[in-house]
Symmetry: C2
Subunit: 399 residues, 2 copies
């Protein structure tokens, strides 16, 4: 089975092709700056452990033109990964927002598309790009089954006490204002891997996804019972450029006393805050460099970032009344030993003891960085959202 995984944004398309018998992709690529001029395609084919990279600079006015170029690359002599676009059996689409009605991986019908469109007000930056990706994929991969995999779906098992806000009922009923949670494909993937590793299906696990966006999930026996992002991906942890938790009155103060408007605040809190707001950089590698150069601002930002994670570890341990493992994943979680160290030191009251030595080492794949006597396992598990999407597509179609 050939599974083509697409993550279609407002001006970009990311993709990977899997043969269903392997966890390694056959090719992967990125189309950037769609409709913005100076568009770029980077297409990488993996053959016998080697990478063949093709880069194209050309004008791509819309998603259809972009996908048409990708289609040509898939069959291009010398780097062909399929004989014919019709050899693609399934296209798996990553969809950020599935709301309360799209709670499972599902074959895309007109009704499903309609529901994704109805969620535009809740996901104005994401769902419109996904619909473009679906429509283009439908016109190009005509023989393929189109499947939607939702970033919110894994969190739909949360109990009402965890997903409701304490505002009048009608805001939930009329506008759907509640905690949805995001990064669900990643939280599901790494918690599944942790359960396998622990050989404990009823394990109590906290997954910590630290990329540009950051979120945590409390996963009890494979089911998410709480998560740190909310109505949108702004809430919770401190991120590359997002503030995470903040007193809502800060916004009211800035509007009423300092003349800000909603558009300015949206940009401030999503694009100019977080690590970037505190240090001028959003990439943890730059901020680590600042720390090494003696920057107090960078040291404070790291402390705040790690402290917020610690508090969620405590909160979710209390919510589950127990903890078997915590899992670090994504760019920062997989690579930044300092963040893991700072989040886990002096946590023996919660049964967490990290091995400074193990933690400092760089190794590929799943690894256990807890001290031998630690009651709670501290795991580093590389996330793989594309593989998870491919797996879910395969599982759906084999049922």
């Amino acid at each position: 089975m050939n599974i083509f995984v697409i993550n279609s944004g407002s001006s970009s398309i990311k993709y990977q092709l899997f043969h269903s018998e392997s966890a390694e992709p056959v090719c992967s690529g990125l189309v950037e700056r769609i409709g913005l001029g100076d568009s770029l395609i980077k297409h990488t084919v993996f053959i016998n452990g080697e990478e063949k990279v093709t880069k194209l600079e050309l004008d791509i006015p819309d998603h259809e033109a972009g996908m048409f170029e990708v289609e040509k690359l898939l069959v291009q002599p010398g780097i062909a990964v399929v004989h014919n676009p019709d050899d693609i059996n399934v296209v798996g689409h990553r969809i950020v927002h599935g709301g309360e009605t799209l709670t499972q991986t599902t074959i895309i019908t007109e009704e499903v598309k309609e529901k994704i469109k109805q969620l535009y007000p809740l996901a104005p930056l994401h769902n419109p790009g996904h619909i473009k990706g679906i429509e283009v994929a439908q016109s190009i991969f005509k023989k393929a089954t189109q499947v939607a995999v939702f970033d919110t779906a894994f969190h739909q098992t949360m109990p009402e006490k965890a997903y409701r806000y304490a505002i009048p009922d009608n805001f939930y009923k009329d506008y759907g204002i509640r905690v949805y949670g995001f990064h669900g494909i990643s939280h599901k993937y790494v918690s599944g891997r942790a359960i396998e590793h622990l050989q404990k299906p009823d394990a109590k696990i906290i997954t910590i996804h630290l990329g540009n966006g950051c979120s945590m999930a409390a996963v009890n026996a494979g089911k998410c019972i709480d998560t740190s992002m909310g109505l949108t991906p702004l809430d919770g942890l401190i991120m590359g450029t997002r503030s995470g938790n903040i007193d809502a009155s800060v916004l009211l103060y800035l509007i009423e006393q300092q003349g800000y408007d909603a558009a300015e605040l949206t940009s401030l809190l999503n694009k100019k805050s977080g690590m970037f707001g505190l240090t001028g950089y959003s990439d943890m590698r730059d901020i680590t460099k600042m720390i090494n150069e003696g920057s107090d601002a960078a040291a404070l930002a790291y402390e705040m970032y790690a402290y917020r994670i610690r508090k969620f570890i405590g909160a979710y341990s209390a919510a589950m009344n127990g903890l078997d493992a915590i899992v670090f994943t994504a760019g920062v979680g997989e690579n930044d030993a300092l963040v893991r160290e700072m989040a886990c030191h002096d946590m023996d009251f919660m049964g967490i003891q990290i091995s400074t030595e193990e933690n400092a080492q760089r190794k590929p794949g799943l690894r256990d960085v807890s001290a031998s006597q630690s009651k709670v396992k501290v795991l580093v598990i590389p996330t793989n959202e594309e593989l998870e999407i491919a797996k879910q597509c395969k599982a759906l179609l084999q049922n």
Copy 2:
């Protein structure tokens, strides 16, 4: 020493008079609806275990007129508590917001008044009423030393990682946007009592103040290291009418997609949310009644209220890497056994075990409601902010 404690709001004045040798007030009272017509004074004198209540309905145009009536009651034959207003040695004023500069109980000078006024933008609902109270007290109790006791002061020991938001630095430096925390007089009082009770000066304590407003504090060796309210008293726990934590994007969504303005959101989140928003009632007694009558909304609201407390208990245990006691206080914390039960059951992973039997009983004073095997003590300690203010005034003037 006669210490007159005043809590002056925008349209009310609460007061108590203490003789410094006793923890029981000599009299207490409330002036309501100042400047609103149909004003009311309720004045209670405590003599030999009896209460003598005087109620007056009259027109009180401003704080000065109100305090003038109180002055008359203090010396009124039959219920006199002092011979002469000049017998009042100290007036202790509760001040909500002391910002970063007023961090300790202090004698009120012109400079202190100026600083309280500079904080009007951060505390527009409170500090102006306090200044009125101070000026009236200065003109009526001319011989008394005027002392300010701040609700924010106890939280000023928090480390920077706990009090900073992840927004650009200049919002902190230019506007003072940070976590201040409130209810500090209460958190200080009950944590002090808990330390005495445990006979452990370096105890790790979580104080849970549940009144109409609700907040928690992590108190390590007598010093606050974190608290749940933020720039304003809106953030953190679910309260009678306030939402507590909410994704800041909810506000942006309501402004951009539903046409709300800042004034409407301020009112929505502060006055129409919390338990009131979820059930139509803000008083826990009414909501308990609804539960007993089978209301699902009331049951959910209680679950949410208790769940939020549990998560902060976990978060603060992680922050302190340990926990010796949790303390419930204020109207709900002292009286609502169901909230305490729901917040503490299934928390043995954190070392918390509540005694259902002890917890269900109503008793005055400090009491221990933990199960005998509980590692963490669960205490109920009645708060007494007026007494704490009087104690702090006395301590200041005896130095």
